[in-house]
């Protein structure tokens, strides 16, 4: 499942961007230094293959509904971790830009959730040891299913974790987790079966492709990437815990919600209290606009929310102004070179 921009906070999104960017840079330099320059066109074409393969659906056994290939694990088996990670990342970039899946800020989260776990965890730590060097049908299938399930569970956990830390959704951590994990268990089993079916075919037709002949030296040295990841995770954890304690908006906010204490503060409380002060001076807030339910704690949120009525009036007005600006810009476009509003 893709994260959406609207559900991530800048801190979470930015941190995950940084983590993914580090991983992309590392994997890129690793591919470049491997001297295996045939990998790059291969990765590009296989990325396109993932899109193409998703056009073909199949009937999910026992249910009658239809599914399609996700592809993360398959790429990892075919290309090795680094190349697979970059390929998945590139697919996600295209999806974010063209198909509005996820979004630009959430891209870092998505690359991490859908790329890191299958390429650097599920494949090397589960699929490879489980399948062994010359797997039987059953063994390969079992390895693929287990790796796919774990990869997707980790990915789903990532989504839940990042969403709750961002604190945009009111869903509590545990209930979101309960919602996501079972769905992804089912998706993971199906993904594993499909991956196994494709791998078995390749195994029969072109066994040499599965020997890891493409990137032998890439899959071996995992340690640097794992170390990078751990550092990044620590950094993320530190940043986020600071954020969470500073702004009771993430996990703690959910907990507060459940336990009944109501402390509602936007992440920009500081900025807003300043505005609130200005606003109180102007004192134009009509009394009926909001009801102070919980004097002490609600004031902050109240002053924010109390503005919403006047805010909505003003917002609509600015929206209209924006539309007018656009209308004018489009009318004058031919005459006016560089019709940007600020010029």
């Amino acid at each position: 499942m893709h994260m959406a921009d609207a559900l991530v906070s800048p801190v979470v999104g930015g941190t995950m961007w940084a983590v993914s960017a580090v991983l992309i840079a590392r994997c890129s330099s690793r591919i470049k230094n491997s001297g295996n320059d045939r990998l790059v066109p291969l990765m590009g074409v296989l990325g396109a293959f993932i899109f193409a393969a998703q056009m073909i659906n199949f009937t999910i056994p026992l249910t009658g509904s239809s599914g399609h290939l996700g592809g993360g694990l398959l790429l990892a088996v075919l290309l090795g971790p680094s190349a697979a990670f970059l390929t998945i990342a590139s697919v996600l970039v295209v999806q974010a830009l063209f198909f509005a899946d996820g979004g630009l800020l959430a891209l870092g989260c998505n690359i991490f959730n859908l790329g890191f776990f299958p390429a650097f965890v599920a494949y090397p730590l589960l699929y490879k040891p489980l399948a062994g060097s010359s797997p039987t049908r059953g063994r390969l299938t079992a390895a693929a299913v287990i790796a796919a399930v774990v990869g997707l569970q980790l990915g789903a956990f990532g989504v839940v974790f990042e969403t709750t830390l961002s604190g945009v959704s009111s869903l509590s951590f545990s209930s979101f987790l309960l919602l996501m994990q079972p769905i992804h268990l089912a998706i993971g089993v199906v993904e594993g079966l499909v991956t196994a079916a494709v791998l078995l075919f390749v195994h029969r037709a072109r066994p040499e492709l599965l020997d890891g002949a493409v990137s032998p030296q890439l899959s071996r040295s995992l340690k640097p990437v794992m170390v990078t990841f751990l550092l990044a995770a620590l950094l993320t954890g530190a940043l986020l815990s600071w954020f969470a304690s500073e702004q009771p908006d993430g996990l703690e906010w959910s907990i507060a919600k459940v336990s009944g204490s109501k402390e509602l503060r936007g992440p920009e409380a500081g900025l807003h209290s300043g505005f609130a002060a200005v606003q109180e001076k102007i004192a134009l807030l009509p009394d009926y606009a909001f009801r102070k339910q919980n004097e002490g704690q609600m004031v902050q949120a109240g002053t924010q929310l109390g503005t919403s009525l006047s805010g909505i009036v003003g917002g609509t007005a600015t929206l209209l102004l924006a539309l007018c600006a656009g209308f004018l810009a489009s009318r004058k476009k031919s005459a006016l070179k560089g019709s940007d509003a600020f010029r």
């Binding site: 609207a6 320059d37 590009g44 393969a53 056009m55 295209v94 505005f275 909505i312 656009g326």
Partner: protein, 270 residues
Amino acid sequence: MRSVEGALLDFRQLERLAERDSPLHHVDARAKILATLVFIICVISLGRYQLAALFPFFIFPVVLIAGGGLPVRYLVSKILLVIPFVLVVGIFNPLLDREIVAIAGPVQISGGWISFFSIVLRSLLTVASALILVSLTGFPALCRGLAQLGLPKVFVAQLLFLYRYLFVLAEEAARLKLARDQRCFGGKGTGLASFGTMIGHLLLRSWERAERVYRSMLSRGFAGEFHCPSGSSFGVGDTLFLLGWGLLLLAIRLYDPARLLGLLLTGGVQ
């Protein structure tokens, strides 16, 4: 998820938009990428209850759509496609967060509803900005811009390969699918066994294509180094574009003109 066929059609459409000619199309990709980034960060950094503060940010997509001569209806229909996903996650807010925080006459508004609408609006804004960025720039130019901004060349080259073979392989997949569906009556034969073989075939064909592409690269002197054709230089117009939007967006973010205007409009009366 939407059908990939539909998505590919969209892909073509967006690309055609990028071929149009407007002053905005000629702005350097880097300026557009960075301005979009500033926009997204400004929008996302607003608090969950700051619904009204989101409205002024519509100036960015609206002006770019108008200035770039992009088809409004098409873009809106594309942007609306993401709504269902957002609804699924956002709809829990009104259910869980029932604190009444505002009363407008007879209507009581809970915090959940406000944060719900703020999620929806943020989605619309951020998705719109991404689509507009692509429509005004085009994918190859975007990739070149990203390379100039420091994205590793290997990754950029690979993105461009992906883009190049997307349609070729998608058409191949569509033919395979047609061939199967024509011989599958009532859904029999669309199971996992035939699927594995089909995808396997598609995979091997793709692999062989990659090998041929690599050979053709070698034949033209490729020696492991990807040369980016020297992109355009960052001109005065590009700087103005970036500075102008950056300052405007930051100003909107910091001074919430919606509220100021709202206070002016409602305050004057009361």
